[in-house]
């Protein structure tokens, strides 16, 4: 992991250089490419553990490049794009990307995402075979009902018992929306009365612990006016 080699692809050389600097400072090795074709070439000549890929590029754009890479490789791909709409994100992720970061990005957030993706890549690679029955895994989140361990991309995260119970409920029903009342009844084992705020505050705290950017959560999502859910990955 310490010697991970990252391929940065962006037609804007300044941005590519900046990302290179940023990642080198974190101890990564960086290979640069300035369009999709160069990126594919670089993949052949180098051993790459993660790709940061711009979308709008000459010759071969980011999305097509992603498709091409996914034909024979499953290394993590983080897409970088100036397009910030949900539909763009969904499109990118459905093409096989693992994460979607919008420009202009917070450099620290990008670094965090890189780390998260690398960890998960390594971790899942090692853990894939040995999954215990007491483990619930959703995307990069894993939760052990016996050991009460909670990990994000292999990194342990400390949750309070209540937070753990909430996550257990949501993760074992990934993709299903729970109302605050239901969560309260199941977790607190009490009749729910005016609990929206209590639950919401917990959700927010959990988000701060497990999400790289709590404002744009990847896993724990609020369905406004309805309830809460864990995104199915």
């Amino acid at each position: 992991m310490d010697h991970a080699r990252i391929l940065v692809v962006d037609d804007d050389r300044e941005i590519a250089n900046a990302i290179e600097k940023l990642l080198t400072l974190e101890g990564y090795e960086v290979v640069k490419a300035y369009n999709g074709m160069e990126a594919l070439d670089a993949l052949v000549t180098n051993s790459i553990q993660l790709i940061i890929l711009d979308v709008m590029m000459p010759k071969l754009d980011g999305l097509s490049t992603t498709l091409k890479i996914r034909e024979n490789k499953n290394i993590p791909i983080i897409i970088l794009s100036a397009k910030s709409e949900d539909s763009d994100k969904i499109l990118g992720l459905s093409m096989g990307a693992d994460d979607y970061v919008t420009k202009p990005f917070n450099p620290q957030e990008l670094v965090a995402r890189v780390k998260s993706q690398l960890r998960r890549y390594m971790y899942l690679g090692a853990m894939a075979s040995a999954r215990k029955s007491s483990q619930i895994v959703v995307g990069g989140l894993s939760l052990d009902t016996e050991t009460k361990e909670f990990k994000v991309d292999g990194e342990p995260v400390k949750l309070t018992p209540t937070e753990f119970k909430i996550m257990e409920l949501l993760m074992s029903n990934a993709g299903i929306v729970f109302s605050a009342e239901k969560i309260y009844e199941k977790v607190w084992q009490e009749e729910a009365y005016s609990v929206e705020n209590t639950v919401m505050v917990h959700i927010r705290r959990i988000r701060e612990k497990i999400e790289i950017n709590p404002k744009e959560p990847k896993y724990l999502k609020v369905v406004w006016g309805i309830g809460y859910k864990i995104e199915k990955c």
Binding site: D12, E14, I15, A18, I19, K21, L22, L25, M56, A82, K83, S84, E85, D86, S87, K103, P104, F105, N106, P107, Q108, S179, A180, E196, N197, V199, M200, V201, I203, R204, V222, V223, W224, G225, I226, G227
Partner: protein
């Protein structure tokens, strides 16, 4: 001297005095005349010196005498003796027949009469020229009648005439004096009316705004009423007496009051018209002129293009319509004319059909043009809207790329270890501002997308109450940091609406954020939700911490913000985005500013 006279002559009291005096003088004059006729005095004696020239003589002597003579003539067989106490001689000739009371010995009189008929020294003749007369008496063509009054009789009458004149004269002189004085006062009033003591401006009265015609008609009809009453009153005659009957005294009083009243009204109207003359509005302020002007202006507007300035295409429509109406009218008239020439009657309908064909055909063409123009402008509008979205998308992309570099390099710069303390401060400011710029670009993009309607919505049924609670929970830290308190009043039951949850969350987030940012320290923010007439009504109220010297329209305009607020962070688009997102979700968004109270009301249809 001059100014003093002016100040006196223009004084209000002088004017009122003159007016009252005029009314009194006119009334007095009229009453004098009435008195004269009541006492049976002949006014004619004033003007006609000789009794024989007067109308009085003709009506009181000549006509009765003639009638009497004709009576005698018609009944001469039955009357045994022609009365010999007549005051006149008569002579009638009809061809050879002669009927007369002229004595045989007064031959020269007869001869004189042969030449010219005579009365009172002159003969009064009735020629056969008077057709009514001839008819009445069924006389032959050569009928002739002559009368001669005795000289003694005429002399006595002349004496009566002169006595009458003598008794009438003082009254007449007084009446004339009254009228002359009144006339003088009227002239004076005419000169000064409308002028004030202080300046030479013309001051109009309220009554002067009346249309001239109305004034003239009012004046005329009042005068006519007065005159007809006066005629009735004067027509009442009696023999010469010096004492009046009681009913006549009443009549005098009644007529006097009536005259005062009517002369006053007529005076007001008259002077109003005089003022209008002076102001040269006599003509302009008439109905006729108003109609004339409107018609003229309308006709003018048809030809100078004013009328069709805004809608040039309707010009053709109008002219066609005008032509159609005129031609149709002429054809109708022709049809009636041709009723007298049956074979021709077929022509107008044929022409009419042709005209209708022409009218419909070309009108349709014009309508087509109008529709085309309409479509074009609509398309133009859509195109410009689309271009706007594209522009915003491109611009925001072009902004984002360099901004990415800026943010990245600022981050790298901050990681440099050998930065001085000052440089580090600068870098922090740069970082802060670059993130603010990032937010602005992002807000601008969201707003442009939503206002143009080019936005993907994820509409679903949701509980507005829950959404507000979630938003408040989500913003708990910000609320705590602000030191402000939030008071919520939410209903027990959920309130379901159809909306895009994410967008609506942004709406409430922005509104609460604004309230937190701009509220006066120590005040409370009130968030209410209730059901009103089948609508979900949410309101957010806060007391502004600064003077809101803008209107609700201004605050919703993009980038408009309270002056002080400009310095704090945020894009200034929060409220606009909230409004726009509410609208795209199908809700109603209203801002209400009442003094320092800032209030936003959001309405949604309730979904069951």
């Amino acid at each position: 001297m001059d100014t003093r006279l002016r100040s006196v002559s223009r004084r209000k009291s002088t004017r009122i005095l003159a007016s009252v005096l005029t009314v009194i003088l006119i009334t007095a004059g009229v009453l004098l005349i009435q008195y004269l006729s009541y006492t049976g005095r002949e006014l004619e004696s004033l003007f006609i010196e000789k009794y024989k020239d007067s109308n009085y003589f003709y009506f009181n002597d000549v006509l009765p005498a003639r009638n009497k003579v004709m009576y005698l003539l018609n009944n001469r067989d039955r009357i045994e003796k022609v009365p010999d106490d007549l005051d006149y001689y008569y002579y009638i000739s009809e061809g050879e027949t002669v009927f007369t009371n002229v004595p045989e010995d007064n031959k020269e009189l007869l001869e004189e009469f042969e030449e010219a008929l005579y009365s009172s020294g002159d003969w009064i003749t009735e020629d056969n020229t008077d057709e009514n007369y001839m008819h009445y008496f069924e006389r032959e063509d050569d009928f002739k009648l002559a009368l001669k009054f005795h000289d003694e009789y005429m002399a006595s009458k002349q004496e009566f005439w002169e006595n009458s004149r003598k008794s009438v004269m003082p009254f007449a002189v007084m009446a004339v004096l009254c009228f002359v004085l009144a006339f003088g006062l009227v002239i004076y009033l005419m000169v000064i009316t409308g002028k004030s003591q202080d300046d030479d401006e013309l001051h109009m009265w309220k009554i002067d705004r009346l249309y001239t015609e109305l004034q003239v008609i009012a004046f005329g009809s009042i005068f006519a009423i007065w005159f007809s009453i006066a005629n009735d009153v004067f027509g009442y005659r009696s023999s010469v007496v010096n004492k009046l009957e009681i009913s006549q005294i009443y009549s005098l009083i009644f007529f006097g009051i009536l005259t005062i009243f009517m002369v006053t009204i007529m005076g007001v109207l008259f002077f109003s018209m005089v003022r209008k003359f002076k102001a040269k509005t006599f003509w302009k302020q008439s109905i006729t002129y108003t109609i004339y002007f409107k018609v003229k202006d309308f006709l003018k507007s048809l030809f100078d293009g004013r009328r069709f300035e805004k809608f040039p295409l309707t010009k053709a429509l109008f002219y066609r319509q005008l032509a159609f109406i005129i031609v149709s009218f002429i054809l109708v008239v022709l049809t009636f004319l041709f009723l007298f020439a049956p074979p021709l009657i077929i022509i107008p309908p044929i022409i009419e059909i042709a005209v209708i064909y022409w009218y419909v055909k070309y009108n349709n063409k014009t309508y087509e043009e109008i529709n085309k123009g309409f479509d074009e402008s609509l398309e133009e509008q859509m195109k410009s809207e689309r271009m706007k979205v594209e522009l915003i998308t491109n611009v925001s992309h072009d902004l984002k790329t360099p901004l990415t570099s800026i943010i990245s390099y600022i981050d790298l710069l901050s990681k440099e270890e050998d930065l001085s303390e000052t440089a580090r401060d600068y870098v922090n400011i740069l970082r802060e501002k670059s993130y603010r710029l990032k937010n602005i670009v992002s807000d601008l993009f969201d707003l442009a997308k939503s206002t143009s309607g080019d936005i993907n919505l994820d509409m679903e049924k949701l509980d507005l109450k829950k959404l507000i609670q979630q938003t408040l929970g989500d913003m708990e830290d910000e609320i705590k940091d602000s030191g402000l308190q939030i008071r919520t009043k939410l209903p027990e039951e959920p309130i379901y609406i159809i909306a895009d949850g994410k967008r609506l969350y942004r709406v409430f987030q922005n509104l609460i954020d604004n309230a937190l940012k701009y509220s006066l320290k120590g005040t409370r923010i009130y968030i209410n939700l209730e059901e009103v007439n089948g609508k979900a009504v949410a309101s957010i109220k806060n007391i502004a911490g600064y003077e809101m010297n803008f209107t609700t329209e201004e605050i919703l305009q993009r980038f408009t913000r309270g002056d002080k607020a400009r310095t704090t962070d945020g894009s200034g688009l929060g409220l606009s985005i909230a409004e726009s997102f509410t609208r795209v979700c199908g809700g109603d968004f209203k801002v209400d500013i009442d003094g320092d109270l800032f209030k936003v009301i959001i309405r949604f249809n309730i979904e069951n």
